[in-house]
Structures are given as C-alpha cells and as structure tokens.
Symmetry: C2
Subunit: 212 residues, 2 copies
Amino acid sequence: MRVETPEIFDDLQRKLMTAELRPGEKLKPSELQGFYGCSANTVRDVLLRLSKVGLVEFEMQRGFRVRAATSERRHDVTRFRILLEQEGARLSMLNGGVGWESRLTAAHHKLSHIEKQIAGADDLSPYLGLWSDAELEFHETLISSCGSPILRENYGDIYAQFRQQMVGLERDFGSSYFHSIIDEHQAVLDAALARDVEACRTAIYDHLKRNL
Amino acid sequence: MRVETPEIFDDLQRKLMTAELRPGEKLKPSELQGFYGCSANTVRDVLLRLSKVGLVEFEMQRGFRVRAATSERRHDVTRFRILLEQEGARLSMLNGGVGWESRLTAAHHKLSHIEKQIAGADDLSPYLGLWSDAELEFHETLISSCGSPILRENYGDIYAQFRQQMVGLERDFGSSYFHSIIDEHQAVLDAALARDVEACRTAIYDHLKRNL
DNA sequence: AATCGGAAAAATTTTGAAATTTCCTTGTGA
DNA sequence: TCACAAGGAAATTTCAAAATTTTTCCGATT
C-alpha cells in the first residue's frame, strides 16, 4: 500500500482519534513505515506535525507515543475546551450576523438528524463517523464568528484531543448518551440564536460537564 | 560553529523572539544549515518543532517562514493571552497555597528590581534580556497553581508569540514604558495576593490593553 | 534475592544525496 | 502590452544508510 504524505497524516489522525492506535502506545516510525510503504523519516515528519495538534507526545531521543488517556487529562482537556468554547461562542454572538445564524442552524439540523437516527438504532457503528464529523462542524460553527483565528485553531486542536480522550477511555456511547445530548445541543443552539451569553455559557458547560 | 540540536532550537527561538529573524522572513533550512554546521534536515526538524510553538509558519511544500507581525495578529495574540492569563490566575488564586504566594512575591521582587533599574537608565539594551526572563517568570508563576498543564503549556506558547509580535512591530520600549508597567505588575501582584478575582482580571487586562 | 555494570540489541537522530515540487525567468503568441 | 507556456534554477521532500543514543538483557558482585 502506497499513499501520499497528506493521506498518511489523515489516516494516523483518524486512528489516533478513534483509539485504533491506543493511548500510551509507542509509535515507531520504523514499524509504521512498512504499513505506509514510505521511509521512516516521512513517518517521523508526520508524527512531528501530529504532536503539534497534541494527539501525539514527543520527547527528544525517546520518540513518539500516543497521548495517554487518563481521567486527569480528560478533565484538563474538558476544562480547556469549555473555556475556549464559551469564549468563542460569546464573541460569535457579539460579532456574528445572519450568515452565522443560518450556518449554525444548518449544522445543528444535520447533527440532530443523525443523532435522532442513532438514538433509535441498535448498532451505532455505521453512524459514528458521520456523527463525529457533524458534531465537530456544529461546535466549530458555533465559534466561527469569534473573529480570532488563534482561538479557532486552538479549539480545533483541543477538540481532537477531547475526542481522543473520550474514545480512549471507552466511555459509554450507548444510545442513552445520544438521547441526552440531543437536548444539550438544542439548548446551545437556542441560547446562541437568542444571543444570551450567560445561557450559552451554561448550556456549553452542561453539555460537557459529564467529562469533568 | 558546531552546536547541538537543543542549542539550535534555543538559538532560533531567541532570534525569533527578538526579531533578529524578522517577521515574514523566509527560513530556508539549506541556508541555516551552514550557520549551524549541521544538515538541512536537522534544521527542518527544529523548525517543525518551532512551528508547534507558533513562532514559525509552516506550509506543506512551501517551507517555513517567520510568523508575520501585523496589528491584527498582535491584537489576536493579546486577546488570547488575556483569556488564558485571567483564567490561570483565577484558578491559581483558588488553588494556590502559601508556596505559590511566596514564589509569586519572589518573582515580582526580582522583576520590579530590574524594572526600576531600567526606568532610570539611558541605554536599555543590557537589561532587556534579564527583564524578559523575569517578566516571563512572573507571569508564569502567577498561573502556576492553576492545576492545568494544558493551560500552562498554551500560555507559554502564546507568551512567546506575544513577545514576537511586540518586538516585531518595534513598539516603543522607552523608559516611560517601563515606568508604567511597574505599577501594573504591582497591581496584579496585590490583587493576586488578596485573592480578589475581579481585581486581578482587571489588572491583567489593564496591563495588556495597550496592545489591543 | 537484589543491585550494579557492561555488552548486545533496538530505536532514534543525523546525514548527504536523489527525487519531486515550486518559483522565477524568458520567450511566444494574441 | 499582456497573458500564458516552457525551461531552468532553487527550494522542499523523501530516501536509505551511518552515527548516536537509549533500552534490554545477562552475569558478576554484594
């Protein structure tokens, strides 16, 4: 199997975020090299870039390792995500126009559609990828009018780390979970459209507090 | 001149933060290679790590570039720094013990000593390096008891970017500048020791608002 | 049995050059 | 004159092997 470098990046990122590569696991360029059919240095390059996102730990002379999943770290990641999302949403409510409102509504519509399907399904696995993308898009849209590229970039990274911690710790993804987050996403949407900063802060907190 | 890799990293970081390498400037591994007496790939490695800190921009197939210094970006960096420092200080005031108080007092003492020297000096350059280290240590100590490794790490990165923007935009570092920040640092210290969250938020904002 | 030291093995980093891509210059045609 | 294409130069990425460092394993010593 021969793939281009950007695809190696995407593939590794996906495996990191779905715990196909398990937290704490050593990442040896010389082993992955064989799988991707490229040289060890190319893998090393990709891994160095993934460590910027925070999905991979890098220590000089000691190589790479999938970031560990611990309850402490999940707690920390969650707190940081709440901080960024609350601030991003606040600024978006301040700066966002109708374009933002419509994009947010659209993203929520797509997300809730999937979530309702999942809530009534037996096997979740076929939906998980779709849901994952839709959830990310909803939350990114929420903060998309904050006017701060730095905030958005950091949010993207911390969201990836959050997802990694979630699946890494094998948290309960039963359909009851999806049943409750439907309401939570709705609450975030309502508060955002109403430009109610405090209600939105609360809704974001309530949505994520189970991970604290 | 032959130096070890960690020293290449430190040297480049320093040059990036003092605008010895000017914002927007292209960073060609093949040129820096000669200066450091190592191979181009080693430089590339270091540059990839510096792009994690945010001091360097990296674009695939287009190489590296010193992050641009614009008033928009300085504004963005400043806002983000304020967000992180306010939250870090809030949590430190919540969690910090006497150890934190004493470390903060010590860091402030050292800092204000240098600042008083600078305020009364003609030539600032001999102090600038010392002041820079002391200022960083004061602010890092302020948030050091926040209990969030992620917050601390991100603060370190954003502080470096902040410094880069400051010197890159050749802002006025006259002695009048140092005269006013003496009071600002004092206000931050007083509020922190008094565990007055709102006063500390305000003091941090007032300290940095000139860069917005 | 536990610890320490050292040799062997394994992994990481560095290197220099080849392969690829981008960038810049120049020339052609409208 | 301008747009665009082709060619060459320069820069970036990739590679495989050498050099270095870390880790592992094993036996000697306490």
